[in-house]
Symmetry: C2
Subunit: 397 residues, 2 copies
């Protein structure tokens, strides 16, 4: 008898974004003339940089010629991309991460979801609350039950202290989804010290690092001494270069980062991940990897900077508007997300409905990211300029 | 303390194709003038069909314009591709599989490796021996221990009977990798009856179905009555349209296919898979899906037929050559693989070394696919014509 993985039944059956879509659909049906502006889902709207388009156009042509055709690529990604990432994202910033420590994937969601597979089911997990749902759900699905939530509140600047008890695996995300806040060097150093003391491993999700505008906020956890002994880092082209529908990301596993067996033996995590990827993954499409590699040139860097600045300007417009109205919010400075405190103690979903009904604006209810997201709403700056301006104008009225 | 998934340590540390690469490299270094012909790995060599190139070129351009840009797509794939698959691969052949039952992925290796995640760890697994290593390795990595091997031998035509004991999950692959043999309707009916009787689920890997030349050999398990109640099917664009480096495949989970909880409740497998994909996957790149969809047109079908015929002609050339030499082999008629019986009782690896040394030809040792692959060598027809002809000439001498 084919028995199912019953851990799946522990997940909430209604996925956050499905519920939002349902409510929006209902509203639109009842109000067919309403011009709804979506500032909810974290999806980009602007076209890919020209360097990426040119590189992919060329790569497609290569696939049409026997001389330049590519079959299976290496599961860990092509060296032309791994070398560029090592050089441009790490070595140029004084961080010693080599191409061998970089594994290309079809996106950070996959990497963040899959990474737990190389670890034992009896590890104790620490995650922030509110949190990107993939960290939690992938662990529940695998059957992990010891999960500690660290509340992120206005009082602790959305940056909880390491727990008093020992945890084995820690998910950190900076700039943070959903709160839009960042972890500074001192805070990260504190987490690294904790991890060293407890032989924990940190999963550092830096998918939004390109949005950091303030100096002294680390773009990579490896900017901090000792991180290579305890941390795996996730990065993505999705929000850096508009690749949400093009799919490319990568994970960094330092060459001397170890996990432990029950008998105390040290095992290189890099080797376990390679084994995972060679068995359950077959590499990212050659065409896509060429597109990703194109951002690592002087012209490519200018183009992605323009793209990021476009969204950051949206964030600034939203923040200015909210200030003017007198609404309280966090984030939006080093992140594409604005974490809006609901006025008059509205619940997240009540305020979601209010915004939809009165202003035809869609946000994401903070409660969907965890209990501590209650009384918040996440707004994103990934819309186009006109809609963003219009949304702010509506709110001001 | 971050504990690793110790199931990984049960895997053989030397991956088959790494060992082959190592031996080839050693030989080439000692014999720099030897012109080595690779008939080992199952990777295609011919360029993508023109319809795919054109469609992807257009899709890349779309990604460069704000009006036609695509962000996140649906995790289960775009409807334009799912509808075409339903129509061209199923409904045109009288099989009632709808777009809703089709889930697009970045390749069959990923689907075959990931599918076990939605099932309980205490299921008993049946796999053929020899077998595509992903079925076995993905289950070992997940921690399943009850795995039954069904020997495929010359005596049983490489088609073992269902076991006497009850198994819960069954991996079938036809046309078979590595043996190149096929399962006919009667045999599949027998497996379906077994699965119905035991409430088992069959994983039917049809990645090579485009290579079937004989009538009455099923291309899909759903050609057989009752299969929709017990079977999940895997298909791929890799060998159908040369997508090994372009990455697209799909899995079919019929809408009324159930798994069971420990308390006997029936759960739709389709819903579990959707939950798995929405959490740990983020869809296949839009550009790639457009390329895949292009084969579903009259012109597209002509182009992939030409591509497949090119490789089938290679297979014919190899088979004719082996016959002339007097070597015994199987497959090569409905599959791109030829399963060569080693002469003079050579072991697989001994014969691998012989072929490399004496003829500078690389095959894949059958023993690498399981104990019953001993004394066999897998040859593939995915090389280019010139090399394939040259390899056969060398063998004849």
């Amino acid at each position: 008898m084919a028995k199912i993985n019953e851990n799946y039944l522990k997940l909430p059956s209604n996925y956050l974004f499905s519920e939002i879509a349902k409510r929006v659909k209902n509203f639109q049906e009842k109000n067919p003339d309403a011009e709804i502006i979506k500032l909810g889902i974290g999806d980009v709207t602007q076209p890919l940089p020209k360097v990426c388009i040119d590189a992919m156009t060329k790569a497609v042509q290569e696939m049409g010629n026997a001389e330049t055709f590519r079959g299976y690529g290496p599961e860990q990604g092509y060296n032309f991309l791994r070398e560029k990432i090592s050089e441009w994202n790490y070595k140029k910033n004084g961080i010693d991460i080599s191409a061998d420590e970089i594994f290309i994937s079809d996106g950070s969601k996959c990497d963040c979801g899959n990474i737990q597979e190389i670890f034992s089911l009896d590890n104790k997990i620490a995650i922030f609350d509110p949190v990107y749902p993939v960290y939690l759900d992938s662990n529940i699905m695998a059957g992990r039950t010891e999960i500690i939530f660290l509340p992120c509140t206005e009082e602790n600047n959305f940056s909880p202290e390491p727990p008093n008890e020992k945890v084995d695996l820690i998910y950190l995300c900076s700039p943070n989804n959903p709160t839009g806040t960042v972890l500074n060097k001192k805070i990260l150093k504190n987490w690294i010290d904790y991890a060293k003391k407890n032989n924990s491993v940190i999963f550092f999700d830096a998918a939004y690092s390109a949005y950091i505008t303030e100096k002294n906020i680390p773009h990579s956890i490896y900017e901090i001494d000792g991180a290579k002994d305890v941390a795996i880092e996730f990065r993505s082209f999705s929000k850096t270069a508009g690749f949400t529908g093009t799919r490319c990301g990568y994970v960094v596993i330092p060459e001397n980062l170890f996990g432990t067996t029950s008998s105390g033996e040290k095992i290189l995590l890099k080797n376990l991940w390679l084994r995972r990827q060679t068995t359950k993954f077959n590499g990212t499409a050659y065409i896509i990897q060429r597109g990703a590699a194109a951002i690592y040139s002087d012209e490519g860097q200018v183009q992605i900077k323009n793209l990021i600045n476009y969204y950051l300007e949206n964030a600034r417009i939203i923040c200015e508007g909210l200030k003017e109205i007198g609404l309280k919010f966090f984030g939006g400075k080093n992140a594409p997300y604005i974490w809006l405190k609901t006025p008059e103690n509205f619940s997240s979903w009540e305020y979601f409905d209010e915004l939809l009904k009165n202003f035809n604006i869609v946000g994401t209810p903070g409660a969907g990211f965890g209990a501590c997201g209650e009384n918040y709403l996440r707004l994103t700056s990934f819309g186009n300029r006109e809609e963003t301006l219009k949304a702010v104008e509506r709110l001001k009225k």
